[in-house]
Amino acid sequence: MRLFGRMVLGTIRDMAPVVVVVLFFHSIVLGQPVSRLFPLIEGTLLVLAGLVLLVYGLELALFPLGESLANALALRGSFVWLVLFAFLLGFGTTFAEPALTAVAAEAARAAASGGAIEHTPDALARYAFGLRFVVALAVGCALTLGVVRIVFGWPLPPLVIGGYVLVVALTLVAPPAVIGIAFDSGGVTTSVITVPLVTALGIGLASSLAGRNAMSDGFGTIALVLVMPMLFVMAYGTILSWI
């Protein structure tokens, strides 16, 4: 209970800058009456309550679950299971991610307005579905690569920088309508569920394998999750434009 009280206070402190910034720009820079912000109070309180529960829940469930799962998988020593699990976790969470569904629908409209696809509900839905599938595939592959990297102790920088180089090379040939969504697709897939799970998975795996360090080997999978969708979506858009 004391811990919970500390958490509430901590969350209020963390939210305070947002409130201060809005108040400052609204009242001092713009000189508007404070009363115009009253409708936002309800939402701010909801954010506060949500943050407290979320932070508490992440520490209580998602981090321990991810780490003990990674430990158990490493102890069992089955490489196939580990890879399969990583791929399914990445693919599944991403394909079901509501934020990605929303962005994919928006990207379909952007592609239609750019003339890349026809402006019919059918074509839009097909494009959005294809995009979601490709991004989910990319995240699945990114998690797989991240796990394989930790197991074999491959250095991360060549993978990440190599990914950047490929992305930049692909922008030269990719159709302009797909570049925006491709760059954004990496950031959209990192959600409040996947980030703690993937981080915990990496830390758990690195700390239960001999010769691996949790700090220098456990992190880095999120970076691959950021790059891989950019690569896959650009390639997908380029291939579509050739057909």
């Binding site: 720009f25 949500g50 509501p98 999750v225």
Partner: protein, 258 residues
């Protein structure tokens, strides 16, 4: 009453988001690996906290942060922003850049995933990496990325130029930065752009693209999230490099006392 109904539907939505992942993990853990779940009550309680917390947070963001962001962009813009003929210069939007920097910095500080990961990093590094140092560096990175993203939209610079420049800077820093920090630094962008930052960034991008007559909200609205999650790596690496530099200097001073 409306609030309760809205909360109910949001709760259904987040449950659909959280439950499949949780069930899949529990299935693999208990059935495939035949492990007994330690402290099962904590896990179940934690998962319900995450589900309810996420629902409250999403609803609150929708009711407070998103409208506040849109409202501010509209009010802080120069008076002739809508006028295509007047063609206001990109510098006349300075208030928007300032607001964008401050609000995304504040939002990233409030980001629960960044908080949780920073705390874990602090434990793992044995206190060598300061929780607040990491949070402030990451938040400054997000804020810098979004501010540059806003300038890009106003000035009409192609997105891939900006990101190519960002990639080049990261690649150069990679050569000189301390090895241990690299994976964490690459990760921070993704870690600090989740539930609180992304809606704020989306509100800014959408508001800005709608404001400018020459911009297509559908095409120019993209790219802000990408800037927000690539730039933090630069700032975190720079922070680590500066810290290393100071440490080196301090060590040298200790070795040769004047």
């Amino acid at each position: 009453m409306d609030l309760i109904r809205e909360l109910g539907s949001t709760l259904g939505w987040t449950a659909k988001d959280v439950l499949p992942v949780a069930l899949f993990m529990l299935f693999v853990y208990c059935v495939v690996l035949r492990q007994k779940l330690a402290r099962a009550r904590n896990v179940i309680a934690g998962l319900s906290f995450v589900t309810v917390g996420l629902a409250l947070l999403l609803l609150g963001v929708d009711k407070a942060l998103f409208p506040a962001g849109r409202m501010m962009v509209e009010q802080l813009s120069p008076d002739n922003a809508h006028d295509a003929a007047a063609a206001p210069s990109w510098a006349s939007f300075h208030l928007i850049y300032l607001f964008a920097f401050c609000i995304t910095f504040a939002a990233a500080i409030a980001e629960p995933t960044l908080f949780a990961v920073a705390q874990r990093v602090n434990e793992l590094s044995g206190g060598a990496i300061n929780t607040w140092g990491l949070r402030i560096a990451a938040a400054a990175g997000v804020a810098l990325g979004v501010t540059l993203g806003c300038m890009r939209v106003v000035a009409g610079v192609p997105l891939h130029w900006c990101l190519t420049a960002v990639f080049v800077i990261i690649a150069v820093q990679t050569i000189t930065a301390p090895r241990v920090i690299l994976p964490l630094a690459y990760d921070t962008g993704g870690v600090s752009t989740t539930v609180v930052t992304v809606p704020v960034v989306a509100a800014l991008g959408l508001g800005l693209a709608e404001l400018l007559p020459a911009r297509n909200p559908l095409l120019d609205g993209f790219g802000m999230v990408a800037m927000a999650c690539m730039v933090p790596a630069i700032v975190v690496l720079a922070y680590a490099q500066i810290a290393m530099l100071f440490e080196k200097r301090a060590r040298r001073r200790r070795r040769e006392p004047e």
